[in-house]
């Protein structure tokens, strides 16, 4: 088993501008807590009692409307968000691609960012150097790598980010809606690498909007709605269910 999620719930506080300021805390104290600040401390139930497992070779497409909890679920699996309840077990190395910046330094050059990301991923300096050339080759950015990445187009950033995130083939690769900005040739290349990963018994979970793209990459579907697991299984089944749900207009 690659990923095991047991009864995971996540609720997190959302602070608006007012709640994030110190004065309201002070005011609350001064008035003995009678000022109603309940409205400013909103708790969001982002995930509710999710349980599922991912096996080797599973390529899971995340489905659900905006705000259903797809990005949150990916971040919980990555270990970025600690779940409020339940446990997440991931066997092996996780790699993530939640936005095309990957936390890179936009003033630094492509080469420097390769090194920086390598270190963020827990590689040693020697390993960074070893992988740098293969990252450069895959990204096909050539001389652009010597330029600050703020000069890159979205597609070029995506190429670099994807090359970095998939270099040391991860056991579990989590991708949020970002692949969209790539051009066709990149998409084919990325697809090939993703299938390669899946065939070597690795897992992939990806949030994509186009069903067409989902179908090309994934063999399973996981549909969540309002933080609840609605369906999980073979891609075509779940996709059909989800499609039916959307066309019935019951979303929202």
């Amino acid at each position: 088993m690659l990923v095991s999620v047991d009864n995971v719930s996540l609720r997190y506080p959302v602070y608006d501008a007012a709640a994030q300021s110190f004065r309201h805390r002070l005011v609350k104290h001064a008035t003995g807590g009678r000022v109603n600040v309940e409205g400013s401390r909103v708790k969001v139930d982002a995930l509710r009692d999710l349980s599922f497992t991912m096996q080797e070779g599973d390529r899971v497409a995340l489905m659900g409307s905006n705000g259903a909890g797809k990005s949150t679920l990916l971040r919980v699996l990555a270990g970025v968000y600690p779940p409020s309840e339940g446990t997440v077990t991931v066997a092996g190395r996780v790699s993530t691609m939640f936005d095309i910046s990957l936390g890179m330094d936009s003033e630094a050059t492509g080469w420097e960012n390769i090194k920086l990301c390598g270190l963020l991923w827990g590689l040693s300096l020697e390993e960074c150097d070893q992988h740098a050339q293969s990252i450069a080759d895959f990204s096909e950015l050539g001389d652009y790598l010597a330029m600050p990445i703020r000069t890159y187009s979205a597609g070029m950033r995506l190429r670099l980010a994807f090359a970095i995130a998939t270099t040391r083939v991860p056991d579990v690769f989590l991708v949020d809606e970002v692949i969209g900005v790539g051009d066709t040739s990149f998409f084919q290349k990325a697809n090939a690498r993703l299938s390669e990963m899946a065939s070597s018994a690795r897992g992939l979970m990806i949030a994509l909007h186009s069903e067409e793209a989902q179908r090309r990459i994934c063999n399973k579907g996981l549909w969540i709605d309002h933080g609840r697991l609605m369906a999980y299984g073979p891609f075509d089944e779940v996709a059909a269910q989800y499609r039916g749900h959307v066309s019935n207009g019951t979303t929202g």
Partner: protein, 260 residues
Amino acid sequence: MKDVLQEIGAGLMNWRLWWTLSWFDLKSRYRRSVIGPFWLTLSMGLTVMMLGTVYSYILGTPHTAYIPHLSLGFIVWTMMSMMIVDGCRTFMEAAAIIKQRPVPVIVFAMRVVSRNLLFTAHNFLVFVPVVFYYKIVPTWVTPLALVGLFLITINGIWIVISIGIVCARYRDIPQLVLSLVQMAFFLTPVIWGVQEIGNEIPLFLQLNLFYHFMELVRAPLLGMEPRMLSWYVAIATTVIGWIFTVFLYRIARRRLVFWI
């Protein structure tokens, strides 16, 4: 508690990562700028020259004593105050990384501290001409300044962690910190305090942590022994501050990611 300490330790030990991050921060100051962070050094040097001339005249202090006091005071003050003010943004500036990977967040505090040490190294150049012009010779107490710098650094780490956490949660605090630090400048003997402070230290100075830490670096470099009181205060601050920070971190570590 054990895993909290392990987490903090893991962040401190991951020096390759925080060193690279702070090195990139330094480099970004040099990008498209010929002298980069030396602008800060240059402006500090000019300020020291100007204030030195004016105040040694107003206060009637001979500039041979005043300029070394002032230049070192400025360097150490800038180091301490910049770490604190810079520390407010510690976790917010790293939000993109923190929301992408489970990196031990202490790394980002170390990045802030180490980049400020790099800037301080630039600023120390202001003191070099002073040494030669006023012929300040090293004595047996001079190396104590390194101990002082070390104490400032390890206190800087807990301050940056704590202030970074509090500022991530309450967005008003950075403004508050900024104005408090600006006020503290006037309470700290940087542009004054060469001759005024006798054997009896006034209470407001006894309570001023900036004063004690500054003296641990400045006094030895000027050939004087820091007061025992300053050592005691610095060591007590280190212990209390770190204990406080460990507890604060324990409360905040699982929530921090939702605050930024």
